[in-house]
């Protein structure tokens, strides 16, 4: 019984990681860059929904939508201003820029909302009793949202024209251009989707762990990045699996081993997995034929 409740809290936490990791992996897969500011977009999403609910008295769902809209716009602006001019630059320059954007967002939040943590009121309250286990509604919502997002993204990239164009850009931007695909617009769309997902993750995460600070997004951001690498970066099911597993490992490590060491255990598992499977759990290697 105890184990089950830890497992469910792990899956719930893992679902948040998975939603963030899906954004990371989409952007990495298509733009071939690690957007280290992704975690901070989560934090902005948290603050936007916090303001909408506390100052404008928006209901939770409307606050979520507002956060998604703002973060989508933010993602597109960040991509256009900070990353697009560096399309031909070395990946190191892009990486450093992404770290710069991350600090910029954190400090902007510090300036606007101050350093004092805000107490976030969950968008849904209450708990359900499932077979004697008490599970919070926000956990259920988070898990459901994660599965829906994963399925929708999978269908989007495998069935729609835009989704297929994204995969084409991911493989070979030059060849994609020769097909008539507008690579810049495709990358921009990817950032829009990734940032909207970050907003969802932000609202769900703050509903489950209701302390909101300018640095709230950075640790989950790094863990979700880990989850994406763990599952095989660039792979949508990989990000999902990696996120869920990471959440479970973290929750079980906290419960049975050590709260202080839980993060170290998570990263140790990552290192072991990468030693055995360098491409991640579901990462694939396609040989090139001549």
């Amino acid at each position: 019984m105890e184990f089950l409740s830890y497992l469910i809290s792990g899956i719930s936490l893992g679902s948040v990681y998975a939603i963030i990791a899906l954004g990371y992996t989409m952007v990495y897969g298509i733009a071939k860059m690690l957007n280290f500011a992704h975690g901070d977009v989560i934090m902005i999403g948290g603050y936007i929904s916090f303001c909408a609910m506390s100052y404008l008295n928006f209901p939770g769902w409307l606050a979520l939508i507002l956060a998604m809209v703002v973060c989508t716009a933010l993602g597109v602006v960040i991509e256009g201003l900070a990353y697009r001019p560096l399309r031909e630059a070395t990946s190191l320059a892009v990486l450093i820029t992404a770290i710069g954007v991350s600090y910029f967002l954190q400090n902007s939040a510090l300036l606007i909302w101050g350093a004092t943590p805000k107490v976030f009121s969950p968008i849904v309250e209450g708990t359900q009793n499932i077979g004697g286990l008490s599970v919070s509604n926000i956990s259920l919502l988070t898990m459901a949202a994660c599965i829906v997002i994963m399925v929708v993204l999978t269908l989007f990239t495998s069935k729609t024209k835009m989704g297929k164009a994204m995969r084409a850009c991911s493989e070979d931007k030059g060849a994609a251009q020769l097909m008539g695909i507008n690579v810049n617009r495709t990358i921009s769309t990817t950032f829009a989707i990734g940032s909207a997902l970050a907003a969802v993750a932000g609202v769900l995460m703050c509903s489950a762990y209701p302390t909101l600070m300018p640095t709230t997004g950075s640790m989950p951001g790094i863990k979700a990045f880990t989850a994406a690498v763990f599952g095989g970066i660039g792979s949508i099911p990989g990000a999902f699996l990696g996120g869920i597993l990471l959440g479970i490992i973290e929750a079980l490590a906290k419960a049975y081993l050590s709260t202080q060491l839980s993060n170290s255990i998570v990263f140790a598992v990552l290192i072991i997995v990468l030693l055995v499977r360098p491409a991640g759990l579901l990462g694939k290697y396609v040989p090139e034929k001549v």
Partner: protein, 233 residues
């Protein structure tokens, strides 16, 4: 149809293309031949907008392409099969073809795919396969079929015979002849000068970024300098 006028292309400080001009007329097969590094691929990339010339102009159907983005050039009817084929290895054969039709309305995709399968029955057998699992010859067919999906007025082929066994090379050139017969205008870049000149109406010989000789396919095949340098005679 295509008029390239005095283009100069640089890679950083390296002057790769030095004042090249040539024309391709409606219905022709024109070939650019030359050794490795002569600048053949660079010229095609400049025509399709992936690289830019510092001077001169590239005119297609009377329109200057100098400031047109590469993805818009495709929609104007110019398809480019790049060197090394560059099919999307992790996508299926059919998805590759769909990407070729990216600029076309959705209603044309199915009929376009059917046309490609008629020309390349092998691709139909492998339609659900990931392109990375195809042989080199099949990938070349896929790259050509993918380019045809955009219903191009001018098809540019960059080294279609590269890395293929002699039998497959002949097959690819058979297809080029068929496309020509069907009225497609083709600009063909090749190291295999013998094959290229035998299908071409006209040819240009390129040496270190400059055009040194031009003539009809037959003239160039019999040109002593060309024979010596490229035909191993």
């Amino acid at each position: 149809m295509l008029k390239v006028n005095d283009i100069n292309v640089y890679y950083g400080s390296i002057h790769a293309i030095k004042g090249v001009s040539f024309e391709v007329h409606q219905g022709e097969v024109v070939t650019l031949i030359g050794a490795n590094g002569a600048g053949k691929s660079t010229i095609l990339q400049t025509v399709s907008g992936l690289l830019r010339s510092k001077t001169g102009s590239v005119e297609f159907l009377g329109e200057n392409l100098g400031n047109v983005a590469p993805h818009k050039i495709v929609a104007k009817g110019l398809a480019h099969v790049p060197e090394g084929r560059r099919v999307f290895l992790q996508m299926t054969v059919e998805e590759n073809l769909e990407m070729g039709a990216f600029t076309r309305p959705g209603s044309e995709v199915d009929s376009g795919i059917a046309d490609v399968y008629k020309r390349f029955p092998r691709l139909e057998e492998r339609r659900r396969q990931i392109a990375g699992t195809l042989s080199g010859g099949e990938q070349q067919m896929l790259a050509m079929g993918r380019a045809l999906m955009s219903k191009p007025q001018l098809l540019m082929l960059d080294e279609p015979s590269m890395g293929l066994a002699p039998l497959l090379v002949e097959q690819i050139f058979e297809i080029i002849k068929e496309l020509h017969k069907a009225g497609t205008t083709i600009l063909l870049v090749e190291q295999n000068a013998q094959m290229a000149l035998s299908v071409a109406d006209r040819g240009y010989v390129l040496e270190t970024g400059k055009i040194v000789t031009t003539g009809t396919g037959a003239e160039l095949l019999n040109d002593d300098a060309v024979k010596k340098a490229y035909l191993g005679a």
